[in-house]
């Protein structure tokens, strides 16, 4: 490990050389910045990983079953396990997807599940991301670079190789394409904050990187169009464009990012969309509360991984508890993402607490409250070159094609501010490699 730390300048130079950046818009101006990388990896022992792996697979299987059910039979609502207010009134629910069965029956092909480890060692789920979870490319390239800069570290530590993520994605995309055509990654374009990831994953999976305007629908089938009037049939689209912008004829009419008539092709099953449309109904911060119940309902199993203790003001008992204890809870706006809309009661003035109470009273469905989880700190090397503890989470990537598999790595994000719990890159967070240790 010492060698790895002493080679961190070399590692950072390689990261710069490979252009490991993400874009941010500040005051309407696009800037690219390096994603701060910390050389001290998060290490997950083999036994702990096995438990995590089982729990993550279980959770994603339940979420996939939930999505099928919501857009077909709706048994979980009929049986009163999940209230209709959290499904059919959710912003992520898309009535256009009713009755559609996506290619191979998979909805959440790439799930990014955010976890934290509490100080007592328990892993708790913070959030499920089933639409466009990003971040896998960073630990992929970090591993490539650190192995290059410091080979002896990897010779002396039994770390699972994480460089097969591109192959895992390709295998899943091929399964979804089902021989109908090529795989493409659809990017909103060069100025998207995650463009590095789109292009890097295209390179590593061999998929064609498609930009707005490159795809057309003809006779109900999707084609990638080229020069000299050439075109190639598309079998699977790993889309990095949000649902509402995917097809201007079906959703947002002003969208220039989408493919006209794509919804029709998707409905007819001539193309696979990764992830499926309408997944937002299952990763809403409000529906998160019900995921352990889904595990029991669909799989008839006890959930292996637990949620962080969560309260829904929608339920009377929780509503009263939240209003009485708001100063010690974290309040989250279910409509926000990327670390925005998160308020810590302990940091708010009495006046602000009262304002938030009123907001909850006015629209209980919009909010959730969680106990503050005192999760473990991991050391980073700070600006002075010294180890310094920071809050970290872990985004695990779960891939579902023919089978559901967990990538033996993940994105460990840390807060750069020692007093903050917010780790999101859009708010200045950095990342670490995640080492899953072999037996």
């Amino acid at each position: 490990m010492k060698e790895l730390l002493s080679s961190r300048d070399s590692v950072n130079k390689w990261m710069e050389r490979y252009g490991v950046r993400f874009g941010v818009y500040k005051n309407g101006v696009f800037n690219e910045q390096l994603f701060p990388f910390d050389a001290i990896p998060r290490q997950i022992p083999a036994q702990e990983w096995k438990m995590l792996e089982r729990g993550l697979i279980q959770r994603v299987k339940a979420l996939n079953a939930f999505l099928y059910d919501i857009y077909h039979d709706k048994n979980i609502v009929k049986d009163g396990v999940v209230p209709k207010e959290f499904t059919y009134e959710s912003k992520g629910y898309m009535p256009e997807c009713e009755g559609i069965t996506p290619s191979q029956g998979v909805y959440a092909h790439i799930a990014g599940i955010d976890l934290v480890q509490a100080k007592d060692g328990r892993w708790l789920i913070l959030e499920d991301n089933l639409r466009i979870p990003s971040g896998a490319s960073y630990p992929m390239i970090a591993r490539k670079v650190t192995r290059k800069a410091c080979p002896e570290t990897f010779r002396n530590n039994n770390v699972h190789d994480n460089r097969g993520y591109g192959d895992m994605l390709k295998e899943m995309m091929d399964y979804i394409a089902d021989g109908r055509g090529i795989n493409v990654i659809l990017t909103p374009g060069r100025y998207n904050s995650a463009f590095f990831e789109h292009s890097y994953l295209a390179e590593k999976t061999g998929a064609t990187l498609a930009f707005p305007g490159d795809l057309i629908v003809e006779n109900g089938m999707v084609y990638y169009t080229g020069i000299y009037n050439k075109k190639e049939r598309v079998g699977a689209i790993y889309r990095r464009v949000s649902d509402e912008y995917l097809d201007p004829l079906a959703f947002e009419p002003s969208s220039l990012l989408g493919v006209p008539n794509l919804m029709e092709a998707y409905r007819n099953g001539t193309v696979g969309l990764i992830n499926a449309l309408g997944n937002g109904v299952a990763d809403d911060k409000g529906i998160y509360y019900f995921v352990p119940k889904m595990v029991k309902y669909y799989l008839n199993e006890e959930p292996i991984l637990q949620n962080a203790p969560t309260y829904l003001p929608f339920f009377k008992e929780d509503f009263e508890y939240i209003l009485a204890n708001i100063e010690k809870l974290v309040i989250k706006d279910v409509a926000e993402a990327g670390g925005y809309g998160v308020m810590f009661g302990k940091d708010m003035s009495a006046e602000r607490l009262e304002e938030v109470r009123q907001l909850i009273i006015q629209d209980p469905r919009r909010w959730i409250a969680q106990e503050v989880v005192d999760f473990i700190d991991l050391d980073i090397i700070d600006e002075t070159g010294q180890p310094s503890p920071r809050k970290c989470d872990l985004r695990a990537f779960v891939i579902t094609g023919k089978d559901t598999k967990v990538w033996k790595s993940g994105l460990t994000r840390f807060s750069r501010n020692p007093n903050s719990f917010v780790v999101n890159s859009s708010q200045g967070g950095g990342f670490k490699d995640t080492w899953v240790m072999e037996d």
Partner: protein
Amino acid sequence: MKKVLSAHIANNMFWLGRYAERGYQMMHLMRKAYDEVIDVHEGESPYSDFLEKLGGYVANNMTTSYQMMAQIYDPNTVSSLYNIIERMMDNAIVLRPYICSESCSYIELCRDFLKKKSEVKEMNITELQPITDWLLAFWGSIRERVSGSSYAMLEVGRLVEHIDMNIRFEYKHYRIDETWDRLKKYMVTEPDLFDRVQAGRFEMFAATQEAYTDNIKEHKTDMIAALNGLVKI
């Protein structure tokens, strides 16, 4: 290897080839111009001739040192090395899956290096030699990793730019002729890429040494225009 190239990817490849060659040529020409500047006094502005040939804005009332500085680092000087490398990056960044991260990395190196040198306003062109080295490495990486139509697009861009710069700086005919012959091979393998009328016009201007010598003074702009209309993307 990707089978079908979209129009904008083909365009990015062509322009990446052009800017990479322009950057390489610019480094060469600046070294040459810097050498000439050694023998003149401040105020004589031999550098203005160099800038004029590039077709950019010529700040005649500025000192030679100012012009040289602007030619390397100034974002507002269209032909500056800074702008050439930025345009290379703009094109390369969308081509990562086609040219690989390794090829992109050489352009990243050029950009980061120039940025660091701009902070100290490095004026000794010899200190910028790594840029030339990385551009050569970039082309080595391209030859190693890219093939088929993708390679053809990049190489056609490179050859077109090579001729363009040679004409601007009035190089001898044989230099243009050699490159033109190489470019013509792509008219066979990528026939739809070329405008035959413009190819014919260019040949009329530059097919023989006599024609070239006659036309380089009187019709330089037309020759460059024919060359720039050659590729249909």
